[in-house]
């Protein structure tokens, strides 16, 4: 029992990180019909920004993390929107999808060539110690990761549902035409979602890299997990992405322990197939109809 509990908490910690990336996925889809297949690389890269700041410039860890988030917002948020999404979206959704796949490859190979092909150790934000709670050994670091990720998600939810800008962003996602007529600055709202996505990806990167180490190829698994989490959650709801992320994280961890670590990578895919077969609208999603 204690072992299962340990595994579930570790799974929730990774799941909360997947959820951060999955929320970004759904936000981009909702406001600008962007399916970002470079999302995994967006989570891989900020750790390298922090490593460059620490190892090349000798900046302290906290400052490097801050710089990594800011650089991510600038490059993976604003520049990504202006240089890749805006010109490609005019050509349709498919060219944009292909462009994001290409961008993912470029970022992955770029991290390898410019930094290193080796997995890099990354400092823990919380001390990597075990604490015993009611006889269950828990990792302080995992609890910390879970708490930070949940706090970020809660803050985002509050922002979206309780602020004027949040409501304008929802309006932009639900009905851009009318939102524009009512005077909502739709373009600015879309830019905000790209900035939020980049910030979430950077948070996820700083939280997951101590566990997985910073490696150029991390994006493959992270991107897949986030994509599956978004689909399982319903793709058109932030709450769904959270539920999907946590579910993928826990199942992923239990399967690694009880089935085989070798099959771990396939767990999100199996989950994806099952959901597409039996519940295509996802956990919390709505069935969508499209007029053509």
């Amino acid at each position: 029992m204690a072992e299962i509990l340990q595994l579930v908490i570790a799974g929730l910690a990774t799941g909360a990180i997947y959820a951060l990336a999955a929320i970004g996925f759904t936000l981009l889809w909702q406001t600008s019909q962007t399916i970002n297949f470079a999302q995994g690389e967006f989570v891989m890269l900020p750790a390298f920004f922090a490593l460059v700041a620490m190892n090349w410039f000798g900046w302290p860890f906290w400052l490097s993390c801050l710089v990594a988030i800011l650089v991510s917002v600038l490059l993976l948020g604003m520049v990504f929107k202006v240089i890749v999404v805006d010109p490609m979206l005019k050509q349709g959704v498919l060219p944009l999808v292909i462009s994001t796949i290409a961008l993912g490859l470029l970022l992955r190979e770029g991290a390898k060539d410019f930094y290193s092909a080796e997995a890099q150790p990354f400092p823990y934000i919380f001390p990597d110690r075990q604490v015993s709670v009611l006889g269950v050994q828990l990792s302080l670091s995992q609890i910390g990761v879970l708490l930070i990720a949940l706090a970020v998600i809660a803050a985002l939810q509050l922002f979206l549902s309780r602020t004027r800008t949040g409501r304008q962003m929802q309006a932009t996602a639900q009905n851009p035409t009318v939102a524009r007529i009512l005077g909502v600055p739709v373009e600015r709202m879309i830019l905000y979602t790209f900035i939020i996505n980049a910030a979430l990806a950077a948070m996820a990167s700083l939280l997951i890299s101590p566990i997985y180490l910073a490696k150029f190829s991390n994006g493959e698994h992270l991107g897949l997990a986030a994509f599956v989490a978004a689909i399982v959650g319903g793709f058109n709801q932030v709450r769904g992405a959270i539920a999907g992320g946590l579910l993928v994280g826990v199942i992923d961890n239990l399967a690694a322990a009880y089935v085989s670590t070798g099959y771990r990578q396939s767990v999100p895919l199996i989950l994806l197939v099952l959901f597409i077969l039996f519940r295509p609208q996802g956990l919390l999603g709505r069935r969508e109809e499209r007029a053509v």
Binding site: R164, R167, Q168, N175, T177, R180, I181, L182, G183, V184
Partner: protein, 247 residues
Amino acid sequence: MTSVLDVKNLSRAFGGLQAVRDVSFEVQEGEILGIIGPNGSGKSTLFNCILGQLVPDEGEVRVDGQVVTGLRPSELNRRGVSRTFQLLQVFPQLSVRENLILAGQEHRGSRLRRLFGPRDAGLTPDANRMIDFFRLGHLAEEKAGGLSYGQQKLLDAAMAFMAGPRLVLLDEPAGGVNLTMLASLKERLQAINAETRATFVVIEHNMEFVMSLCTRILVLAEGRLIAAGTPGEIRSNPDVIEAYLGH
């Protein structure tokens, strides 16, 4: 009387098709003007030219004496021109009250206040008044997407009044609404017209609805204005009968 909307010699073509030809009319303050005409007569094009969604080839649109031709819809909205939609256009995942607040909030406060000011922009009392007025009280907290079609039409109309408009353009308000809801919609529109002195321009296919709602009616056929008058005059106008029934 002041004319709130003044359309002069408006024309718009799509390729070789002249959708609106040299249409001129004025709408006085507080008036409910109906625009009718067979399918393809140019009603929607005329509407879209007035609302800034299409730029006319020729002619001019004035609101309260100011030229507004070619202004963007959001700018017109800021100047007191609201609209309702033929197809439903509410925000399905927001509650009825939030839809109303959203419809009014862009008119409130400076840019800084719009970003950091109170969430309801001080509009909750206005939204509640509109909810009571359109008798949506029991639905205030419901998501708009869960409302019936007729209720969503009422919400759409209520949203058009949140910004305290001078002029409201209603695009087929009766379309798809059942008879009971239709009577209530008409009654509420007449009441809010009497209360706010806002000016209405209505495009509508439902003759019964137009004839009983509007004080004056214009008839379009093949892009031209062929008749104008009270509902009684329009009913007995031979040109109108011919346009609708053919030779």
